[in-house]
Symmetry: C2
Subunit: 383 residues, 2 copies
């Protein structure tokens, strides 16, 4: 769901960039880019969906089972449908037959734009073997997507608020003996109840990762499991919520029972590093400086060697997108950029410690879209 | 979690196929293939993970934050780690720097295997520009994955049973006024409770799609929304559940209140088409014949024009995988293959009608892994 005038504006900017790169026709493969540039997003799995942008029109190549969904969206000027059942045996039976028809209608010298970091090698190979010159257009779209407009920021705010409510429900129910997945489930239920009440006829989604105990919390990237919380566990709880495809990320590290002094020190450091990085955010600052500010907090306290990852990643339609807050990224932050701030440390035998919040760069600072309490005191659950 | 001897057996078969195709070193990009061939599965997002199979050893290229998780799995002989923080500035900072190091150690004439339908065009381009000959190895792995062994079938059975329990809980709570997402949520809760009780320390996941009402149920591929059930709705409810990465799919179409005669006719037809297709399954039958048997039921009843999709898709580690039950697929079914049987019709103004079950081809027939009741009577909820 994107306003038609917004889509037209984006297509205008895309076409300007296509012309700059000498690209006559652009083919999109990535569902998030397709949504951004057309307002239509489908589930693709084994059936490719191709969105084609010409100078003066747009086309979608789709499997028949997406036809009604797509046409209802009015997201393109033309629809090319491929089939997979016996009664359509004489027609096009996969995306490639339709794409060949499209390619035949273009002059052989045409320059095509594709998402070079996303499109499969086999598809690229087919385009080149048909004699076309192929250039990347993916980077241009990522640059466009990195600056969020008012409409996008509104959806991101909704996603952030929903993630706070979900987190509140999970925390209200925390107790030793429940599994990571059961802990998540309380937040999911609350999210779905609230969303059902206040956002009629909307697509809402979520993903949770909860890593509990000294060993699992010290590994930053794990799916939730049926491991049960134990007295004195450290837990890193991560939640992404999306509404109308826009995502906010919200993470808190908490302690069940009585933490050790070292655990308290580590979590206090992670909170301080996050706060320090957050307060640096404003237009004109470089991505690297935000990352280095957080890293320095850990390093000065003697915990630098327990850092394993950058301070944050961009967010919007995709789980991770540009801009990345990394020590070697010279990118200058601009108003409308959106990313997570999530510096962390992972200490063997002690646990993992990381809060994450999603922020938008405003005219002269930042706005946090996720606002669940962050303080050390609130993170200790004496149950 | 895959037994080490199973991984070794698969690597043996992969190496035999590599030799047959003249491939000296194979690079894997897809997390499901990586899991199948190593027993390790990571969350990759913006940080690529490459699994490399040589004639006599295996290697993983990984971001630092996956290091402990990976090493604990003992899934490879060697680990190459890239970094993203300031204190490692002199080391490799992305997967490509490590992959270049790997490539430099190979003779220039080496033939590399890649998943040509999965690996991004930019990565493929880099390999070719380094002077290597690159061939597909993805098809070979898909062929291997299409036949499930006893260990895999055990996990698929667990996934099927869990999906039945979840479905039971959703159905026990169905009522007009609840949203699609709330309906799903009852099943999710039950699934997570049961899984937490009976499967300690396991990764469990699920995905639900519920499409309610005449208009939404007639579109086969939509995410669940906050639309609320109304009296006399047709609803297509779809659920995939996975445990240890193995997935079962379970779908039921149901009617709330009093269905029309046409709706009853349509659902009875979908049930008959599914039953007919299911009973055809045994080794030696062609994929196309299963599809055509289901299609014929609709066609003979005058509903052929409302069919939009094939009868089923393979299932295992990926949402959709080979073999596909399509009218033009001559593939001969073999013992150990696993797929969904889900013929459907989508009738404008009436609704969508589709049950899906996951079956395994046995020695002389089939075994359905999902067994929630299918009959028309059980699908009418007089609430």
């Amino acid at each position: 769901m994107i306003r038609r005038e917004t889509v037209e504006k984006r297509l205008g900017e895309l076409r300007r960039r296509m012309e700059e790169k000498g690209i006559e026709v652009a083919l999109f493969w990535d569902p998030d880019n397709e949504f951004y540039l057309s307002g239509f997003r489908a589930i693709s799995y084994s059936r490719p969906i191709v969105y084609i942008v010409y100078k003066d029109k747009t086309q979608y190549i789709l499997p028949e089972l997406e036809k009604d969904h797509a046409k209802q969206s009015r997201a393109a000027d033309e629809w090319l449908i491929y089939h997979e059942i016996a009664s359509h045996a004489g027609k096009e039976l996969d995306y490639w037959q339709l794409l060949q028809r499209v390619l035949k209608s273009l002059p052989k010298s045409s320059v095509l734009g594709v998402e070079i970091d996303i499109i499969p090698a086999s598809v690229y190979g087919r385009l080149v073997s048909e004699g076309f010159c192929v250039r990347d257009i993916g980077q241009e779209v990522m640059e466009m997507r990195a600056i969020k407009d008012e409409e996008e920021i509104r959806w991101l705010r909704h996603a952030g608020r929903l993630s706070d409510l979900a987190m509140e429900a999970s925390f209200a129910n925390v107790r030793p003996g429940m599994s990571e997945l059961e802990f998540d489930s309380y937040g999911d239920q609350r999210l779905l109840q609230v969303a059902s009440e206040y956002y009629p006829n909307m697509i809402i989604g979520y993903e949770d990762w909860t890593c509990s105990g000294v060993q699992r919390s010290a590994m930053p990237h794990l799916h939730s499991s049926t491991r049960k919380f134990e007295k004195n566990d450290v837990v890193v709880h991560s939640r992404q919520v999306w509404i109308n495809n826009y995502r906010a990320e919200n993470e808190r590290t908490f302690l069940i029972g009585t933490p050790t002094e070292t655990q308290k020190t580590c979590l206090a450091l992670a909170i301080k590093a996050q706060q320090t990085a957050m307060e640096m955010v404003k237009p004109g600052v470089r991505a690297k400086d935000v990352d280095l500010a957080a890293f320095r907090i850990f390093e000065e306290a003697g915990y630098g060697r327990y850092v394993q990852h950058r301070t944050g990643h961009g967010l919007g339609l995709t789980e991770h997108e540009e801009p990345y807050l990394r020590f070697d990224n010279n990118l200058v932050l601009k108003e409308g950029m959106c990313y997570t701030i999530e510096p962390g440390i992972y200490v063997p035998g002690v646990g993992g410690f990381r809060h994450s919040d999603t922020v938008i760069v405003t005219k002269d600072g930042y706005e946090s879209l996720t606002n669940y309490p962050r303080s050390l005191e609130k993170m200790i659950h004496q149950r």
